[in-house]
């Protein structure tokens, strides 16, 4: 699936629900659906709060499934980029100010199997998230 949305916070719920609906064909458990919605929400929020803070832009989401039942979600922006990716991935680190928990990347890591972050200042950021879906009937790995 492919989805392109404006970087407006009202779209956060639509993005996470769309990816979760795409993954529904693997018959995920309630917890897996919640995990998917959570990491998509974190990644999309990062695009809105950080990447496109001053100038709004588009968020590009693709999702695919592998033969071994792994969901791969790629969320890309053309925003300001991240100066220091390893710093940004540290728990509790945030440039977002009051009431931002600084847990976005930690949650994405914790709720998935693998997280890749590629970023270039002034060009944008691509986050790729991998999650094997066991499903209600225990899909083979």
């Amino acid at each position: 699936m492919r989805l392109t949305v404006d970087s407006r916070s009202v779209n956060e719920s639509y993005c996470r629900v769309a990816v979760a609906a795409f993954a529904a064909q693997l018959d995920p458990t309630v917890e897996e659906i919640s995990d998917i919605k959570t990491f998509v929400s974190e990644a999309v929020t990062n695009c809105i709060v950080h990447a496109y803070l001053s100038i709004p832009g588009k968020i590009y989401i693709t999702a695919s499934l592998t033969e071994d039942n792994t969901l791969i979600v790629r969320i890309r922006d053309k925003g300001i980029g991240i100066a220091d990716v390893s710093k940004a991935r540290e728990p509790l680190f945030t440039t977002g100010g009051d009431d931002r928990s600084g847990l976005g990347f930690s949650v994405m890591e914790c709720f998935s199997d693998k997280l890749k972050v590629v970023s270039k200042e002034g060009v944008g950021t691509t986050v790729t998230i991998y999650k094997h879906i066991r499903g209600k009937n225990g899909n083979e790995a």
Partner: protein
């Protein structure tokens, strides 16, 4: 998303519902903070029983209310978390500052 309040004696209970994310947390925060200022309770209970989705914005929301409540010397409890909410709340480490109650 809807926020309902119940004030009794010096305890304020906040009933949260629906989805808590970056988009909805702003209104929730403003609603809770204005009620906190008005009532100045000594106990704040945040009831999550009708919350269907929450990301780290919800953690930030609770963290921020904890800091605000601390100023008034008000204790904060998080109650009735569904499993999915509890998972993210526990991983955040907030449990070391705030009491979680299941029932």
């Amino acid at each position: 998303m809807q926020v309902l309040f119940k004030a009794e004696k010096d305890m304020l209970t906040v009933f949260l519902s629906g989805d808590i994310d970056h988009h909805t947390s702003k209104n929730i925060r403003e609603a809770i903070d204005s009620e906190l200022q008005r009532i100045m309770p000594s106990v704040l209970k945040l009831d999550f029983r009708d919350v269907h989705f929450m990301d780290s914005s919800g953690v930030g929301l609770v963290m921020g209310r904890y800091k605000t409540a601390l100023v008034y010397g008000c204790e904060v409890y998080v109650v009735h978390m569904p499993d999915t909410v509890e998972k993210i709340m526990r991983m955040s480490g907030l449990g070391s500052l705030i009491t979680f109650e299941r029932d």
